[in-house]
Assembly symmetry: C2
Amino acid sequence: MFESFFENKKSWLSSEGPDSDIVISTRIRLARNIEGYPFPNRATLAQKNQVFLKVGEAYPKIEHLDSAFFLPMESIDDLDRQFLLERHLISQEHMHYPRGKGLILSRSEVVSIMINEEDHLRMQVIVSGFDLVKAWRIINKIDDEISTYLLFSFSPEIGYLTSCPTNVGTGLRASCMLHLPALVMTKRVDKILELLAKLSFTTRGLFGEGTQALGNFFQISNQVSLGMSEEEIMDSLAGVVKQVKEQELNARENLLKRYLPTLEDSVWRAWGILKCCRLISTKEALSHLSMLRLGVDLGIIKEVGKDIINRFFIMIQPAHLQKIEGKVLKEEERDYIRAELIREKLS
Amino acid sequence: MFESFFENKKSWLSSEGPDSDIVISTRIRLARNIEGYPFPNRATLAQKNQVFLKVGEAYPKIEHLDSAFFLPMESIDDLDRQFLLERHLISQEHMHYPRGKGLILSRSEVVSIMINEEDHLRMQVIVSGFDLVKAWRIINKIDDEISTYLLFSFSPEIGYLTSCPTNVGTGLRASCMLHLPALVMTKRVDKILELLAKLSFTTRGLFGEGTQALGNFFQISNQVSLGMSEEEIMDSLAGVVKQVKEQELNARENLLKRYLPTLEDSVWRAWGILKCCRLISTKEALSHLSMLRLGVDLGIIKEVGKDIINRFFIMIQPAHLQKIEGKVLKEEERDYIRAELIREKLS
């Protein structure tokens, strides 16, 4: 399943969005629950199935979703579930525990709705570059339309009700994925992350919690969902992301001005290793791809396009490799295939 | 001075000698002192000068040496002295403390005679590959001829007298420089070095003491000079070197059979880094060149010849780089020039 995703030219991986030399993608998700049903962690399997079916009736009427996949998670095999996780379309929870859960997924990968994850609906829109306005426009329209068919749990005093109190209110989480190699190289990133935490923003890695700093990717998102309007949340995130982006730009300029030979050396070594290696782990590949991407952003390397590198970050992941090869691969085999794939695509 | 050495096609760097895939070079040196003069560490400057002049009268009559350089060490500038050290033609002592010392050096670099080092004469012959017979034939002839013009300190009971007791007797030290990357990779080299020490052989690195294991080079030489004939010393060294060489061959076969992907990966990564890097230290370059050389020996890499890599091991040294560039270079500049030189020669 999902083989067509390899050809998706308009997904968040396209590097076509604004500021996409630093801000890889923007994501907004809304948590919603259907009135009259217990939250998923309290619901029986039968109740979850009812929720799944109710959503199933509603989604085909929604623009953006009329041709979407609508699937019980149990109908998707292990490899495909991991594949969706690697493409940032479902959560770890949704991958590991498919029972009673479902998924609506637009063919373009822009919209995905997890059913019976922590909340009845976890609606996500993910777009290329730094583009909260676009992401918000899409998800807001879907939310408006779907709420004409589904009655969401809502309190006039506190807003949308959610399974976890941190999501109560707007149910909104907005995040941007930033590529910050220069701030990492100049050792300024930790200070910035500390400051973000003080301002109530969360930072995670490329694949969520525990993967921080892999490939120098940092996902910044709001922690507070209650007591602020959607616009306030997005404005404050936009302000912070803009500042971090400018810090990264400054750090890059500084590297170019003061440490050009070291910078060029790091970039070209990454290129040399990626072009020549015969075995490579995901972690090592991410680190070299990050340097390569920086080199392309700064015009040091002109032999390869940004979108190719963007796709690499995802293509070299275990489930992607196995789908490309069409079979289950052991770790050593993956390291070999990964190196081969990178060599092929770079030459 | 010595610019012509860059073009020397017949020096020990040529990789033309027997077994030169593993045994890079064979070196023999004889320590000799002239009757009637104190050893250099006890001699006055005037006495050292007399020794220098006596040798100066004798050398032009010797075959192999008739067109040789004959120079007081003080007439050679710092850079050229370091250059000679890097080419294994003089010792650290001779480089650092030139006063009262001299050098005879054949244009082919095969023969070098240090005057007033630890002994009045330290005669060295160095040839490509595993070839004790050839080295001995040359040095023995020189020793025979020169002793018709110079009377050497000799005791019928114990043999040649030398400044340090470890050299008394034959005054002979024979050594082979071996490239043992597979024994290092398979972690068997330490056991072998221990065994060699028990058998009274010394092992050093590419540039003598304290440089052990740089580039996976190991120089094996006899410790005992007294109580054995020249033939016995050389036979025992030959036997040991042959065994170590066979161990290395076995280790290479083992790597090819059991660890081919890892081996290919290491070799190709070395190639990738050397072809792409913009800054590289001597130490790091030696380590990658060692892997590259192994790759060439094993037929994994066919893009470059052994002799080019052999020359690299020496060319990338600080004084060589500065002679090539024709000026004094700071360390960072050397790292840059070294990377550039390697890239150029490999493409």
